[in-house]
């Protein structure tokens, strides 16, 4: 136990020692790419640079096991170039904890060209400034340092190299690209400037919930439907909506496939399933023979979709859309008597029948959230209706006809689905 404590104390001491003994201070660190088997160019204006290239390479290997076989050398070319020397001196005088990288940008076009020509080499700027050593890291992507800091000067070049490697080269190393791969990367369009896809398709499986009442509308619009009960297998106060007969608030399952052209206009085929209980009046003794009485609701619809695509980050697409469409609804009865009932009542025989199919409309909006180009989450909400029987032609004495049962069944729905997306350019 005692030994465990002392080791722990030693580790703590070492951590403290490595972090503090060199007086390391990071001004900013934008985590530049660390390449595997990196070429590291040590750029210093000092006669005797504060780190030794060979020792620094060993420090890198000690501190970052994933870095492979780095090659370190002094950037002699820049040490002999007057533009680079001027910038180096300027940078050394200007490096300050307060300053953001944009204040340290190289303004001279020749210097900017040098940075651009680096390819995947990493430039490590090391310069003595009083009793400190200023450190800055450059890569090909910018003419300003990607990371900067200072370390207390010490004559021990190995420990200086360790401190720099520990502070700035700890990240995961990436494989360097081959010449062909670089060339390909350069000719590839920037992902933010890609063309609008010609066609985008998706398939989704979702769940949701629907109810008769549309949120933010008064209760009394619906109370007569929602509170209504079925007496004697067929009697309700009003039969204009199926919600007079059926429970309205139920979960649903859905499956849909769709596609958009040019991220703008599209169609979607949906299938929708829900199960509703018949709202039988428990006080009514006629139902004592009944085991259950439910209706399965099957709906097939076709939506027109209008959407717009937003790309807030390279790994996510947000596509809000609105849809308008039509649907056919089928209510399939599922009724069963109790086992001991041999002959059902007369009322059972003459029970209410719904139309074979209803035609209705869909209207709503939602959004796809597409991650990593393929994996989507779809959210949507809207209103759907079921209207009169589509097979009945209007007759001259339509006014005299009794209205169709459930001829105005409207509900509100909200749902979420998991989707898979395919993009065709």
């Amino acid at each position: 136990m005692q030994k465990g404590y002392s080791i722990f104390a030693l580790v703590l001491f070492l951590l403290f020692f490595t972090a503090e003994s060199f007086g390391q201070k990071v001004f900013f660190n934008e985590h530049p790419t660390i390449w595997k088997n990196a070429d590291i160019l040590i750029w210093s204006v000092d006669k005797d640079p504060a780190i030794d290239p060979k020792e620094f390479c060993l420090s890198l290997k000690r501190n970052n096991s994933g870095i492979g076989e780095p090659k370190c050398r002094l950037q002699g070319e820049w040490v002999r170039d007057s533009v680079a020397i001027r910038y180096a001196n300027w940078l050394n005088a200007n490096l300050d904890p307060v300053l953001k990288p944009e204040y340290l940008r190289a303004r001279h076009p020749a210097m900017q060209a040098k940075f651009q020509a680096l390819e995947d080499k990493i430039v490590l700027f090391v310069a003595t400034n009083g009793n400190l050593v200023n450190v800055a890291i450059f890569d090909e992507t910018a003419s300003e340092p990607k990371a900067a800091g200072s370390i207390l000067l010490s004559p021990d070049k190995i420990s200086m190299g360790d401190a720099i490697a520990n502070t700035f080269f700890g990240g995961t190393a990436k494989r360097r690209l081959s010449k062909d791969e670089r060339k390909k990367m350069q000719t590839e369009p920037d992902e933010y400037f890609q063309e609008t896809p010609v066609f985008k398709a998706w398939a989704g499986l979702g769940m949701g919930y629907s109810q008769a009442q549309v949120p933010l509308t008064p209760d009394n619009w619906y109370s007569s439907h929602v509170n209504s009960q079925v007496r004697n297998y067929r009697i309700t106060k009003d039969s204009v909506s199926l919600w007079n007969f059926l429970d309205d608030s139920d979960p649903y399952l859905t499956f849909y496939i769709g596609g958009t052209w040019y991220d703008f206009i599209g169609i979607e085929l949906i299938y929708h399933y829900a199960k509703h209980h018949m709202k039988t009046d428990p006080k009514d003794t006629v139902y004592q023979e009944l085991d259950h009485w439910d209706f399965s609701q099957h709906e097939i619809g076709l939506n027109a979709i209008f959407s717009r695509n937003y790309k807030p980050a390279s790994w996510v697409n947000i596509t809000p859309f609105m849809f308008v469409g039509f649907q056919y609804s089928f209510f399939v009865e599922d009724i069963e008597l109790k086992d001991n009932v041999k002959t059902p009542s007369k009322a059972y025989q003459a029970r209410i029948k719904f139309e074979e199919a209803y035609k209705g409309a869909l209207l709503g909006f939602g959004s796809h959230f597409i991650f990593l180009k393929h994996y989507g989450l779809g959210l949507r909400t809207g209103i759907s209706s079921r209207g009169r029987n589509m097979y009945v032609d209007p007759s001259p004495d339509a006014a005299a006809e009794a209205s169709v049962i459930g001829g105005s069944t409207i509900d509100w729905f909200i749902g979420a689905g998991l989707e898979y997306h395919i993009t065709v350019f």
Binding site: I85, R86, Y87, A88, N89, W90, V98, K100, R107, H108
Partner: protein, 228 residues
């Protein structure tokens, strides 16, 4: 409920900024101490420009052929004298070495970009005696005209708008863009675009003089105000 709505509206308005306002100056984070006694200047030889020169020639009674030269020299002289009075140690750095530098733009605001030459990083400018002055005021542009608006010169979205032909001029105005340069560390400490309006009835050389003096005063006030 309405109160909450109103507060939300005001907050949204403050966030997105109803009505556009510009930032006309930018300070370096390390600009702590403005120059009090010691100042050098560079860029005055080519900074002064007179617009509506025909109008000025007519009103001031100067020869239209030489009005540009005469008026800019006149303004430059007043400008330098005014600064010389304000700063005990004042030097004018010859423009020769400065003129060879490339033009660069400095961003002051989303749409405000200021064009001008800046000395190279790592190279300190020297005066004719070979000394290195610590602060240099770099004058990029000094535009003299009537009823000028600085946004029409510096907001890139408005630059190509044509001026509507105006007959009467209420003010003579100056638009000055300048940078206070830290010559020791070669960095811009403070950059700004100022607009000065001077009301006139009939313009006289005296009005032009007052305009330039006001401009210098404004520059000095901003140099003090810009330091943090």
């Amino acid at each position: 409920m309405f109160r909450i709505f109103a507060i939300v509206c005001i907050a949204a308005c403050a966030l997105v900024g109803c009505g556009h306002s510009y930032h006309w100056s930018k300070s370096h984070p390390l600009y702590k101490k403005p120059p009090y006694a010691n100042l050098a200047i560079v860029g005055t030889d080519e900074a002064f420009v007179l617009t509506r020169s025909a109008w000025f020639a007519k009103k001031l009674g100067w020869n239209p052929d030489s009005i540009q030269l005469k008026a800019t020299a006149f303004c430059e002289e007043i400008f330098l004298n005014e600064l010389r009075r304000a700063y005990p140690t004042f030097v004018k750095i010859p423009d020769e070495q400065y003129k060879q530098l490339p033009e660069e733009s400095q961003k002051l605001d989303d749409r405000i970009f200021m064009k001008g030459r800046l000395p190279e990083q790592g190279v300190a400018l020297k005066d004719s005696a070979g000394n290195v002055p610590p602060y240099i005021l770099i004058l990029h542009e000094f535009i003299v005209g009537t009823d000028l608006k600085r946004e029409t010169y510096f907001d890139y979205a408005l630059i190509h708008n044509e001026n509507t032909g105006k007959k009467t001029s209420k003010n003579i105005s100056a638009i000055v863009s300048y940078t206070l340069w830290d010559n020791e560390k070669q960095r811009p400490l403070f950059s700004a675009v100022d607009e000065i309006q001077h009301p006139i009835v009939v313009p006289t050389p005296k009005d032009l003089e007052t305009l330039v003096r006001t401009a210098v005063k404004q520059i000095r006030i901003n140099l003090y105000g810009g330091a943090s």
